[in-house]
Amino acid sequence: MGTLLLDILTTAAGLFIVSSGLLIVFGVMKIINFAHGAFITVGAYAALVTYWLAVPLWLSPVIGFAAGAALGAVTEGFIVRRLYRRPLDAILATWGLSIVLGQLVTLAFGRQVQFVPSPLAGTMALLGGDYSRYRLALVPAALVIGVLFTALLNGTRLGLNTRAVILNEGLAQSLGIDSTRVRFITFAIGSGLAAAAGALITPLASVDPNMGIAWLTNAFMLVMVSGGSLLTLAVSCLVLGGLQVLASTFISPILGGLTIAVVAALALRLRPAGFARA
């Protein structure tokens, strides 16, 4: 029972970490970044390189963030910026980018599956059982991301401008807010977060050029259900992640793997705009 609870909590934390970057981009720009999965992959390889260079492993999310943010900035400037008025085409163009990044990673690192050791090895006794220390560490990591973002949005000038753009871009522009800059920074931060998430989850999963795509669909569904708010994203991760763990444990892992997509699709049928204003 204790293990199950911890499974749910850590799974939700992992999902939150992986989807938060996608949510930030969707929330501000109303654009689905289908290169999100590829950015996750980039972050995972950043962690691999960190390990090869014998840099302290706890730095890998930071290095991943930097790599992802740089890639995201270039992507926004060259691709996404031209497609604000064509949101469905933005999905396609970012998907094209994810093909490109996947092939570049393959050319550079090969197709084989690789592993990165965990900076927090071993287990600790908790709730009547031994539990992976690294998995547990995902929970505070998710909290840090959530708190940082809430602080950034609500406590800074950039955050105020961003919220103005979210609420009414036209009005924000006429008040002298440079919404292009807000979008640029948002996309860079969202991409950086995706890569940081990739670095964070690698010790739990293997690294391969297509690893991000498996995460993309779940992140996408969670963001759709959450409707663009960080708080509802956290709730969605807990509820849907919890259902996934329960389905995997008590029915079958294959069904568990489908839980998020199917439940999210049905939830959206009942409430097309997501649950942000629930």
Binding site: I79, R86, L92, V100, I254, P272
Partner: protein, 601 residues
Amino acid sequence: MLETGEAARPAGWGIGAWVRLAAPALLAACLVLAAPGVIGTYLVDILVRASFVAIAAITVDILWGYSGFLTFGQSAFFGLGAYGLAIVFTGFGFSPTSVALAVTVVILASGAVALFVGWLSFYPGATPLYASVISLVLPIVLVQVLYSGGTFTGSSSGLVGFDSFDLANEDWFRVAGLGLVAVAVVAKIYLSSDAGRILSALRDNEQRCAYLGLDTSLRRILLLVVCGVVAGMAGFGYAAYGGIAAPENASFLFGTELIVMVALGGRGSLAGAVIGALAIEVASAFLSGSLPYVWELIVGIVFIAVILLLPGGLYGGVAHLVGLARRAPAGRTTRLVQAPARPRPPDAADEVVRATGVEKHFGSLTVLSGINFTARRGELVSLVGPNGAGKTTLIRCLADGRERSAGEVQIGGHPIGRLAPDRIVALGLGRKFQAASVFETLSVADCLRIARTRHERPSWFRASPVLALPPAARVVVENAGLAERLHEPARLLSHGLKQALELAMVLALEPEVVLLDEPTAGLTRVERQRFGTILTELVRHDRLCVLIIEHDLDFVREISSRIIVLHQGRIALDGTVAEVVDAPLVREIYTGHGQMAESPA
């Protein structure tokens, strides 16, 4: 939305049109029959597979390029077809009976799945993004089901080693190639027909379609069922030829590859989709061996470039360069004629609108309350009131059964209950929106023709050279000067002409009551005068009931037979022009604490 697809097409299917269709089709068929002797066996093998993939790509193009539904899920139907055949042949061996069984299974399975997915995706009010989300989930779910199917589906390695049709590769080439030509020809005929034009209307403006009385959900579901079955049969052929059904055939990745093919070739053009699919399949077969990973990299880069720079794809780009001559096609005519008058049913009520206790709340905010009024044929009722009084909300509550929070509405004597807009249109209501709502990429004639769909079932295989309009719509078309511009795409019209076109489309429905939301906003004085004359004529001569939201009190005074004043969500006054215009309350509302409203409510 997207500026793709052919904007305006020659009206009428004369001999010339059939020749233009038949000549390339015959040429393609001859090429298919002759080619196996010329090209090498390796290319034959690749082209057989590529032809089946191209058939699936055509369905993606129809759904995405023409009807505007970005689908990642056509691979699922392709996979269903492949597995349907493989499972039946593995279980029952190869015999004429098992072939018939497999075909039946594939058609029923892909049709049923498409029906379910369509029902899930296309409910009234669904967003296009939601349908795309579902199309993404479908192949993911299917692949997981295939993985967990054990020996029944062959799990991750798929099904292989079953007996299949005993045909030489050259014969397979002819079957697949002729199949592709046949699908393309049928699709071309349908898409160029009056019925096929409705797909572009759905893509351009689904809301307008619903308010022209079209059941948009049903049409999208049926289209998906047909496209699902065709993609299923393409997968059937693919597995029958290759002798294998693999999870990759059904995967989300293959679904996106189909999109890449259509996008590169040219969405919204059948030739583009076919060329894109064949080119990518053939090039992949030759290059992915010699240029591993680099080839996919190149495809990815070109894909991004095409999406950014050439939304019409390579074919669209070339056609744009070469086909400038097509802008002025010779001998394009549409004859405008009078639609036969439909006699009004003798029992039709004179009272066409009745609202009883209508209320509308947004959460705790009350926008409308206690709205009671009726309107009769031959009345022109103006709704006036300051911004935020609830005028547009009231119009919405009359035109869409799902809008109001409480109360009853009757249109043409029938309670509307919770009916969707298209069903209320069938009761005799027409609604013109505040901002001109037409089909931007369609020609003026096609916009009007789609408005006539309810009365004149459009042909599935030809484009009519005749446009029959009821007198009221025809008067608007001719007075506004639209009759000379029937073949121009609607997006090129001026603001005033778009407003006139939308009014003509609404009148083409032959409604009993017309709702107009600030139809004269942004019009010049002359246009406004002309508009007022048309309206009063319609009311006087055709005994139409018109409900109009209008801010200009002088204009209202000129045209109205009755005025309803809305104030803070309630009916403050309801009476003749003389009774209302000089009432102290109206002066207070318009000059006192409320200000003269100019901007949209």
